[in-house]
Amino acid sequence: MNSFRGFVIKEFKQIYRDTRTLVVLFGMPVLMLLIFGFAIRNEVNNAKIGVLDLAKDEVSSAIIQKIAASKAFQLNAYLTSYDEVESIFREGEIKEIIVFEKDFARNLSRSGSASIQLITDATDPNLANIVQTYTNAIIADYVQELNSNSIPDVGIKVHSKMMNNEELASVNLFVPGLIAVILMLVSALMTSISITKEKEMGNMEILLVSPLKPHHIIIGKVLPYLLLSVVNVVTILVLAKYIFQVPFLGSYVLFFAESILFIVTALSLGVFISSVANNQQTAMMVSLVVLLLPTILLSGFIFPIESMPLPLQVISNIIPAKWFLVIVRGIMLKGSGILIIWKETAILIGITLIFITFSLKKFKVRLQ
C-alpha cells in the first residue's frame, strides 16, 4: 500500500511539473467551453427577413405580425414583387423571404389550404436550415391556433413553445457533449500518453521488474487522472451554470455517478491504447483518431445521429459518448432519473467492462 501511495504521489508531481500537461488538463476545458459557448451557436437571434405579401389580408398580416414578434427574426424588408428577391439576397443582409400567395385568406377559408413559400439564402446552409425550421414552427403554431378556434379569431397573442430547450439554445446542448469530449481528452488521451511515456523512457521495464503488480501500475497511473477529470467536470458545470445559465434539472449525485462511469470508460480506453502504442506520438494519434473524432462527430454532439446515413448510425452505437450524451442531456435538461436512463447506463457499463477486460488482458500479454 505504501508503494502504491508513492506511485500516485509521483504521478501527481509529474503532472504538476509539466506545464504542457497542466495547460491541456485545465486550460483546454475552460477554453473549449468558452469557445463553444460563445462562438458556435446554432440558434438564431435577430435574423433579418423579408416579406412578399401578395395577399395583404388579415390572415397573412397576422402571421407576419407573429413572425416579426419572435426574438429570432427581425422584419427588415417588404417586397412588392418576385423580381426583387434575387437582388435582395445579393445584398446579403436578408436571410429569408416569406411569400404569401394571392388570396391567401380566401383560399384558406374556401379550400382549407393556402400556401406560404419560404425562400432562404442557402449560402450558409446551416443557418438557412435553422431559419426555415423556426419559421415553420411559428406557422405550424398559428395553424394549430386556427384549428382550435372554429371562428378564425386571429388575435395578437404570439405564443411559440418548444419542449425542453425552449430557446433551442445551443449552449445547453453543447455542454453535455463538451463534457464528453473533455473527459475523453483528459482521461483517455492523457493517460495513454503518460503510460507510453513510461514505456518510451524505459521506466516501465523497471516497474515491471519490481514486485509491483501490473494492476497496481495501471491503477496508480489512472487514479490521478480520474480525480483530475472529476475536477474538470465540476469546473465545466460551474462555468455552464454561471456564465451560460445552462439549466440543471436533475440529480447531481446521479450526474456525478454517470460522469465517473464515463471517466472509467475513457480511462480503460486510454490504457488499452497505451498497450498497443509504443511511443507517445502513436498514442496521441491513435487517441485523436480513434477516440476524439468519433466522440465529436458521431456521438450526436454536433451532428444529430438521426440524420446520419444508416451505417454511421449503426457505428454510433459503439461510441460510448453517444450514450453518455443521452444520459447527461437527460439529467441536465429534462431532469431524468435513473429509471428513465437505466438503459443507456447499462449499455455504458457494458462497454466499459468490455474495454477494461481487453486492456487488462492486453497489458498482461505484453509482459510475457
Binding site: 509521483k10 524505459g202 514486485p211 509491483l212
Partner: protein
C-alpha cells in the same frame, strides 16, 4: 544453500521463426561479476529480460537466486535489481524523489527510505543537486544514481544492461569502482557491455554471437585459449562470423 546465483540450461527464446536466444547455458556464482558481451542484436538484452522475468522463455531452464523463472518470477523480482539501458530515472523528479519513489516500489518503509535517501545522497555526492530535476544532471551522474537505485532494496543479484554507454573513460572507471564495492558485499553482478576494457574487470566473461554463447571463461583463461592478449581480439574473431547485423 548452493553457491550458484544464476544457472541456465539450454535457455531459448524465439519470436516467430527468429531465434533471439539459442540454447544458452551459463552458471554464475554468488558475488561474481559476470560480463555478458555481444554485438548489437546478439541477444544479450533478450537473455537478460528472461532472467529478470520481463520475458517468458520459450524453452530451457533457468534458476535465478534459487527460483525458477517460469513459475516463481514474483519471488525473483524481490531478489534482483535491474538497471536498463535507458537508466529509467524520472527526468521530471529530483534525485531525492526518484530514490523515494523506487524505494517505495520495492516496499521500503518510511524509516528505511529516509535512511537510504540520506545515505545515497551523501555517497553519490548529490547534496548540491538534490533539489534539481534529474533531467538537468550530466549523464554520468544519472548512471551513478540509477545504479544506486537499482540496488536500493539490497538484492542478491543486480542486472546491468549496458550501464556505461555514452560516457567518458574516467566516469566509466568510477562506475566500475562502484560495481566492485557492491560485488565485495556479496552481490552478484550480471552486466552487459560493449566496452572490451570493461570485460577485463569481470570475473567471468561470456561472448554471445547470433544468440549462442561462443566463449565463456575468466578473461585470463580466454586469452590463453585464444592465444592473444586482448579480449577485443577474441571478440572480433568470434563476432566476425555473425550473420545478424545491427537491429
Amino acid at each position: 544453500m548452493s553457491n550458484i546465483a544464476i544457472e541456465t540450461d539450454a535457455l531459448t527464446k524465439t519470436f516467430g521463426d527468429f531465434t533471439a536466444v539459442d540454447e544458452i547455458s551459463i552458471k554464475v556464482e554468488k558475488g561474481e561479476i559476470f560480463g555478458f558481451l555481444g554485438a548489437n542484436g546478439a541477444g544479450k538484452t533478450t537473455a537478460m529480460k528472461m532472467l529478470t522475468g520481463l520475458l517468458t522463455p520459450t524453452s530451457g531452464k533457468a534458476m535465478v537466486s534459487g527460483f525458477d523463472v517460469f513459475s516463481q518470477s514474483e519471488s525473483i523480482k524481490k531478489n534482483i535489481g535491474y538497471m536498463s539501458q535507458k537508466f529509467s530515472l524520472y527526468d521530471d523528479l529530483t534525485p531525492e524523489e526518484n530514490i523515494r519513489f523506487y524505494g517505495g516500489i520495492y516496499g521500503l518503509d518510511q524509516h528505511q527510505l529516509s535512511k537510504k535517501r540520506k545515505e545515497l545522497i551523501e555517497s553519490l555526492e548529490l547534496e548540491k543537486v538534490r533539489k534539481k530535476l534529474v533531467g538537468s544532471l550530466p549523464l554520468g551522474w544519472k548512471q551513478k544514481l540509477a545504479f544506486a537505485i537499482s540496488i536500493i532494496h539490497e538484492p542478491n543479484i543486480v542486472f546491468l544492461d549496458e550501464p556505461t554507454g555514452g560516457v567518458d573513460p574516467i566516469t566509466r572507471r568510477q562506475f566500475w569502482e562502484r560495481i566492485y564495492q557492491v560485488a565485495e558485499k556479496g552481490v552478484t553482478v550480471f552486466v552487459t557491455t560493449h566496452y572490451m576494457d570493461e570485460a577485463e574487470y569481470c570475473d567471468t566473461v561470456s561472448i554471445m554471437v547470433d544468440g549462442k554463447i561462443e566463449a565463456m571463461d575468466s578473461p585470463d583463461n580466454l586469452k590463453k585459449k585464444f592465444k592473444t592478449n586482448s579480449i577485443e581480439d577474441i571478440f572480433i574473431r568470434l563476432a566476425r562470423v555473425a550473420k545478424r547485423g545491427d537491429r
